[in-house]
Point group: C2
Chain length 321, copies 2
């Protein structure tokens, strides 16, 4: 057997938005020797990362990226081959300025953001052929500046925004795999995004509503709190089934019983706090349009019955603190 | 022209549940000389009514029923011709014991309670032919023991539970009219109940959810707060339209544009607090099943699309304090 003739691409990578997701996947790549430049806009966090490194605490083994490239602005990063976009979708307005210094004509933009509309945002400005989407199936919390707690899972599904996967997409997936990330390439990114929404729409939304009821100072409501309440648990399941029906009405292949598996896994996850709940509890903006508004509008416009999604969306919009 | 030969019935009337609604309509009847017996279970309130009378504050003119029949138990009332039932629907379990001393075989039971299921509760136990339903279109708050504030409106629609209106129903409506209450007889009680739900389901429900978000100590959210918020106002309208469609799917004659008038009137009402919000804010049980559960189940079982009603019902059920 011939040795592999595959030539490793030597990606220069920027992580725009070093939150829990950007920090975790960027740290994986950096830990395994890739050149990763982190945009960290908090001075306190830059100082912490410069002093202590970027730290990941995980039951699968803690690790630390001791020396890495930390930037206050993308101006000092310069052109890259691959940009991981992990800002909150609510901060997309800042993206054009942040991305400008990073772009060559062939720079690949991989958005790891939640929900719908982020690939479109990039495709309109930079061309659809440069845009990839990544879905992160991972439980993460940032617990301190430069410290990310990895609570479970970690897989990433990668898809082309426009059309079927190209070779460079498989290369990128392999780069993740070589760095210890369970990456896979999906043929239909829209379908993958809707499959993820089957979980995010009910669980992120209802934990926020349940949290909104609690007196200030009490801990936010977790997925376990939700599943423990028969009314909210039933509603979560009805919402999940409505999202599946919506996806199917958009022509996407999501099995009717897809929620069974999701609920089984959620019960096994324990008391997880979705990122939206943490945002809400901390007074940060929620990814309202990406997770609830845009999916609702697309399904509604396709003629699907989306009364539950509609109610949840407008309640979250109206009940924002 | 001959003088009327109509002989006034001399009703002996009991009011079971002297809250804002029972107190207001009972006070009207008593003020105009009818024999009204009030069940008042709070000792403090009985003392206040005995000392100061039952007082109604209203822009249409304050009035006071100085001497009236106040009872701690229905045992001391004895058999009546007409019983006005104005307990919260959540207290229906107490009704059989409360009603027993009041009943002759022909005693008429008029429930002024909200929502669906109350006539059925009475009809199952006492026979459908004795049961009337009354819908109160009135803004009332009980502001102190024995003091009812009348904020607006006041009409009452009366209907037979079983079949078309009988003469005794018209007699009762006339008794209300002679006592200054704008009473009318409706041919279809179910239709009238659903028309009222077009308002109660969204406005009672969403003001509760909006209130649930506010920190303890802040005033509850009013209908005006709801209408001021573009998201919640839109959602209220979508819910109202869904309730209309549900009623129509049950074969009831509610016009498709019925919500237009409701929303116009609500805007004119100002900052009204529906009774459910006051109950919720005070930690009292809400009429969850009568206003949200039973209508949702009936429409769902009839095959109507009720995703919005379903979401609201399960949220209210799950978010109860």
């Amino acid at each position: 057997m011939k040795p592999s003739t595959h030539v490793l691409p030597r990606y220069r990578i920027a992580v725009v938005g070093t939150g829990a997701v950007g920090g975790f996947y960027g740290a994986k790549l950096a830990y395994y020797g890739r050149e990763v430049h982190f945009l960290i806009r908090s001075e306190e966090e830059r100082a912490a990362v410069r002093r202590f490194g970027l730290r990941v605490k995980s039951r699968e083994g803690n690790f630390r990226v001791a020396k890495t490239h930390v930037h206050a602005s993308t101006d000092t990063v310069g052109p890259c081959d691959l940009v991981l976009i992990a800002l909150k979708a609510t901060a997309n307005d800042a993206l054009p300025d942040l991305l400008a210094p990073l772009l060559r004509p062939d720079t690949i933009l991989l958005t790891l953001q939640n929900g719908l509309g982020n690939e479109e945002f990039l495709a309109e400005r930079y061309g659809p052929e440069r845009v990839l989407g990544g879905l992160c199936f991972v439980c993460l919390n940032k617990t301190a500046p430069g410290v990310i707690e990895h609570l479970g899972q970690g897989a990433i599904s990668l898809g082309e925004y426009a059309g079927y996967p190209l070779p460079r997409m498989h290369d990128i997936a392999w780069e993740f795999k070589r760095c210890g990330v369970n990456a896979r390439v999906v043929a239909d990114l829209a379908e993958a995004r809707w499959r993820k929404l089957v979980w995010n729409i009910p669980f992120n939304g209802l934990t926020v509503l349940a949290t909104s009821l609690r007196p200030p100072g009490e801990p936010p409501a977790s997925t376990a709190d939700l599943l423990r309440d028969p009314s909210l648990s039933y509603l979560a399941r009805r919402l999940a089934d409505e999202v599946i029906a919506a996806a199917r009405s958009l022509g996407l292949d999501v099995p009717s019983d897809f929620a069974d598996l999701q609920f089984k896994r959620t019960a096994e996850m324990g008391a997880y706090l979705p990122s939206t709940v943490l945002d809400f509890a901390a007074g940060r903006p929620m990814e309202l349009e990406a997770i609830w508004g845009e999916p609702y509008r697309r399904a509604f416009n396709a003629g699907a019955e989306v009364g539950r999604m509609e109610t949840l969306y407008y309640l979250l919009r109206g009940l924002r603190r």
